[in-house]
Amino acid sequence: MGRHVVLIEDEPNITEAIRFLLMRDGWSVDAHTDGATAVEVIRDAGPDLVILDLMLPGKSGLEIVRELRAEDGLQALPVLMLTARGQMRDREMAEKAGVTRFMTKPFSNAEVLTAVRDLHAQAGQG
């Protein structure tokens, strides 16, 4: 079972931090900033996990999730959504769209690692 992550995040510093964390944990990280091409990138890369920002240039994180869930073989793909907009409404909409887990910025590194490991483990069992 591989440990490959696709990260879509438009804030370069945050991308760098997450990449650092995950690589130290043994993941390979494929990072992108553009929302418009995200679905293609994910389909091609076939990752074990996706980390998505909510507000992205080109296409919003919610739309990307909806499109992923509409594709064969991607319905069960774990998606961790990060957002700087932490309102309840956003969380509800994200869960409705098919996001597996929702995290509000700023987060602690430990939280992110735990969440990634949990999601990966669940997906493995499932």
Binding site: N13, I14, A17, L21, K105, P106
Partner: protein, 892 residues
């Protein structure tokens, strides 16, 4: 001797003939082909002869036989009116025509402010007053039948059944004649023509009998005169008070009797006919009364003592075996009775229907009369029923009074009854101060006295207990019906007329003086009294909101569809309008009201138009001092309207404010959400890298430095963001204090360029033209520099050219200084140009360094400085223009 059957047949044939004449005349009239003679003064004069009823035909001879020459007073009164007072009648006719009056009740109601109460009162008085008169006709026709019946071998007719059948027959006859249709102008050409014909028949019959008596029996004029001298009739035996009283009564009745009013005023075709009638009608009266005395004298001589002198006209020829003459005489009497009954029933039924039935019906219809039900049918039905009821009243009166009284006595009771209308009528015509209250009070008093002193005693013991007659009401002797206030010894007729008329007139005058007329009364009063001055004067429909369609619907119901459409068509033509219906101008409403009042009376028409047009009734020169109730209502309602308009304006304002507040609240939420997002993003980086620095063991020195640098940069970014937010909030709240100083544009630009370039490593070439920048400025130079710095920093961040360049140029035009910053990049996309000045608006996030507040701050600053900043599309790259008021000429 003719049997009763033959007699009945002759009557029916005669009636059929009359009916044919009336029908034919009506047809001619509706086709507009009525011959000239039908509208001639002759017909008018002859129609006036319905004054001469069976009472005149039979009763005058009886009167002469009993009381001598006193019968002349009955003819004297009308003759005096026609000869001496024709100008007063002319006024009556003029008013009747100009106001479309339908009856005497309508006239009085119209004069006294269109009061329906008054109209109803007059109607009741008229019905009660005329009832004895109708009964009199029944009695005379019955008597004449009885004369023939006595000689009929097949007896078995009793008097009661004859009276009943006569009454029923006359009722049917009157209904057939008078209410065949509801004429728009309420003229009955057919009836008038038939009445004129009957006038000729009765005159001819009486003249024939008279000639037969003088030359056939008495043997010439000389012989006749000798006989007269020999009889007691010839004795000049005059009771002055009775003569004066009865002459006055006859004159008053001639004017006030509903049927006389009908033929004289309502049916009048042309005012000028009155001039002819003023001598022709007295002549007719002279002719019809010429042979009264000879017939009476010869009758007294010829017939056995005890025979009824009222029937001499019939019995003298019969006694002489002149069957043909007797038949002609019978027809004459029949004509007199029928013409009177028909016209009286018609006139009364119009009054009853217009002033009693219609108002009640209108009220029952809950003010919806204008739009529901067919008023025509109701009017016709109510008139027919009224006729039947009036005839029934006459029939019952006959029974009550026992049918025994002399014809003349019954006639005088009627005369005195309707004469009560005289004070109100004459006062209304000539005295502007006469009021409705006065008229009502006078009528009530006069009517009550007449009822008490004349009508009830005449009915005998049946209605008025004997002890009242003897000892007065409540045993008060001064209230004895035939000796009021203790004045005894007067002739009962004189007594009753004197008291009723004088108190009537006195109360009328006093109450009129004491009461204050309503505006409408004053106006109508002026119109009546000065009818010759302004016959066509407006009566004051000021309503401009009339629903013409509703008026049309209502008019159709009253006038009939064809009539109404023709009228509306005429009105539309007259106005020259283009629409399907005429404009509801006051003049039009005025004419419509008159048109309707011809069918249903003034008060009802006024009410119905009022319901639809909803306008106020009048206020013109006559009403200066009067605070009209309607005006108050209008004022009140307009005040209400104003208030309601104000309320709805306030409500609208509140709604707008609420919308604005909601919008502002939404903007605030969006703003907070944006601020949160902008704060969380740098904080995320700071937290992540500080945790990495803290937790991760083996980090290279480069890594450590790099991560600490990121934390440092993001902290600066946070600080900048907070500064911008605070700055913006100060600027937006308007609490910013400006520090106005003098300087030059060059100095400000120097400072701005240096600051902007120093804070960033991004390369940017700034091109300036120092010779064009030497403008003096008087402004907050630090704030202006802030704007410039923001614009230069934007160029640094967003200019996508390989060799980014920014050109700064300045110029003055229209009193304003313009500074334009143009870079050589691709500029702002067209769809984003509108929003770049909004808070947190960023065109390309991946290159964003700031929070998107820079341009928003620029806009706020420039607004405070009295200038503005805007994006200039189509300048090759991103181009921003800052403009502000020019302070003066170039510095150097």
């Amino acid at each position: 001797m003719a049997s009763l059957n033959v007699l009945a047949f002759v009557c029916l044939a005669y009636v059929a003939f009359l009916f044919f004449i009336a029908f034919w005349a009506d047809r001619m009239a509706t086709r507009g082909k009525s011959a000239a003679w039908m509208r001639s003064p002759l017909i008018y004069t002859l129609s006036l002869s319905i004054y001469c009823t069976a009472w005149t035909f039979y009763g005058a001879v009886g009167y002469a036989a009993r009381s001598g020459l006193e019968f002349v007073t009955i003819y004297l009164g009308p003759s005096l009116v026609m000869i001496c007072w024709w100008w007063g009648l002319r006024k009556l006719v003029r008013i009747g025509r100009s106001q479309r009056i339908t009856s005497i009740a309508d006239l009085l109601s119209s004069r006294y402010g269109k009061s329906n109460l008054l109209a109803a009162g007059v109607t009741i008085l008229a019905v009660i007053g005329v009832t004895p008169y109708i009964s009199l006709q029944l009695q005379s026709v019955t008597l004449s039948f009885a004369i023939f019946a006595e000689a009929d071998p097949l007896r078995g007719y009793n008097e009661t059944s004859i009276v009943f059948w006569v009454a029923a027959g006359l009722a049917v006859f009157a209904i057939l004649f008078g209410t065949r249709n509801l004429n728009a102008n309420e003229r009955h050409h057919g009836v008038v023509t038939a009445v004129a014909l009957e006038a000729i028949v009765k005159l001819a019959a009486l003249l024939a009998v008279g000639i037969f008596v003088v030359w056939g029996i008495a043997g010439g004029v000389g012989e006749t005169l000798a006989r007269i001298d020999a009889s007691r009739i010839g004795q000049w035996n005059v009771d002055g008070s009775r003569w004066a009283t009865i002459t006055f009564l006859a004159a008053a009745a001639f004017i006030c009797l509903p049927r006389m009013f009908q033929v004289m005023v309502v049916e009048n075709e042309d005012e000028r006919h009155l001039r002819i009638a003023s001598w022709a009608f007295p002549l007719y009266l002279l002719l019809i009364s010429m042979f009264v005395v000879p017939i009476a004298v010869v009758g007294l001589d010829l017939l056995p003592a005890g025979s009824n002198p009222d029937m001499f006209v019939l019995t003298v020829p019969l006694q002489q075996g002149q069957q043909g003459l007797a038949m002609l005489s019978f027809l004459g009497g029949f004509s007199s009775a029928t013409s009177m009954v028909i016209v009286a029933a018609m006139a009364l039924s119009t009054m009853v229907s217009n002033h009693i039935v219609m108002p009640v019906w209108l009220r029952l219809q809950n003010r919806q009369a204008s739009v529901s039900g067919d008023v025509r049918d109701v009017v016709l039905l109510s008139r027919r029923v009224s006729i039947a009821v009036i005839m029934a009243l006459g029939y019952f009166y006959y029974h009550l009074s026992g049918g025994a009284a002399a014809l003349a006595a019954i006639g005088l009771i009627s005369f005195a009854g309707v004469a009560q209308l005289l004070p109100a009528l004459v006062g209304g015509l000539f005295w502007r101060g006469a009021t409705r209250s006065g008229a009502l009070a006078g009528l009530t008093v006069g009517f009550a006295i007449w009822l008490y002193t004349m009508m009830l005693p005449a009915l005998g013991g049946g209605l008025l207990p004997e002890h009242i007659l003897r000892h007065g009401l409540f045993g008060l002797s001064w209230l004895r019906p035939e000796a009021l206030f203790g004045i005894e010894g007067l002739d009962p007729t004189v007594h009753a007329v004197m008291w009723s008329m004088s108190l009537n007139a006195l109360v009328f005058c006093l109450v009129s003086l004491m009461s204050f007329p309503s505006p409408l009364e004053r106006l109508q009063g002026a119109q009546f009294v000065n009818v010759f001055d302004h016959s066509a004067g407006p009566r004051g429909w000021t309503g401009s909101v009339a629903q013409c369609e509703d008026l049309m619907i209502m008019s159709q119901r009253i006038l009939g569809a064809t009539e109404a459409q023709a009228f509306f068509q005429r009105e539309r033509m007259r106005q020259g309008g283009r629409g399907p219906l005429p404009e509801p101008t006051p003049a039009f409403l005025e004419r419509l009201e008159r048109e309707l009042s011809a069918s249903i009376g003034a008060a009802a028409a006024h009410a119905m138009i009022g319901q639809i047009a909803g306008g106020s009734s009048v206020s013109v020169a006559d009403l200066l001092a009067v605070a009209d109730e309607t005006a108050q209502m209008l004022e009140y309602s307009s005040r209400l309207e104003t208030q309601s308009a104000e309320l709805s304006a306030t409500a609208r304002k509140l709604r707008e404010t609420n919308e604005k507040l909601t919008q502002i609240s939404e903007q605030k939420d969006a703003f907070l959400s944006q601020v949160s997002h902008e704060l969380r993003t740098p904080m995320t980086s700071i937290r992540a890298f500080s945790e990495i620095l803290r937790d991760a063991g083996q980090l290279s020195p480069q890594e450590q430095r790099r991560y600490a640098g990121i934390i440092h940069d993001e902290t600066l970014r946070l600080t900048r963001l907070l500064n911008d937010l605070l700055d913006l909030s100060v600027l937006e709240s308007g609490q910013v204090s400006l520090n106005i100083t003098a300087g030059t544009l060059t100095e400000v630009l120097d400072h701005a360029v240096a600051t902007a370039l120093a804070g960033s490593e991004m390369p940017l070439t700034v091109r300036r033209s120092p010779e064009a920048e030497g403008f003096r400025l008087s402004s907050d130079l630090d704030r202006l520099a802030q704007v410039f710095i923001n614009l230069i920093a934007n160029a640094q961040k967003y200019c996508d050219a390989e060799q980014p360049e920014l050109t700064v140029s300045a110029s003055v035009s229209g009193g304003r200084l313009h500074i334009v910053f143009t870079d050589n990049g691709s500029g702002v996309p067209a769809d984003a140009q509108q929003m770049i000045f909004e808070k947190f608006a960023r065109v390309s996030p991946e290159r964003a360094g700031g929070a998107g507040l820079g341009l928003a701050i620029c806009r706020e600053v420039m607004q405070r400085l009295g200038g503005d900043v805007s994006y200039l599309p189509g300048h090759g790259g991103g181009a921003f223009r800052v403009s502000l008021p020019a302070a003066g000429e170039k510095a150097a």
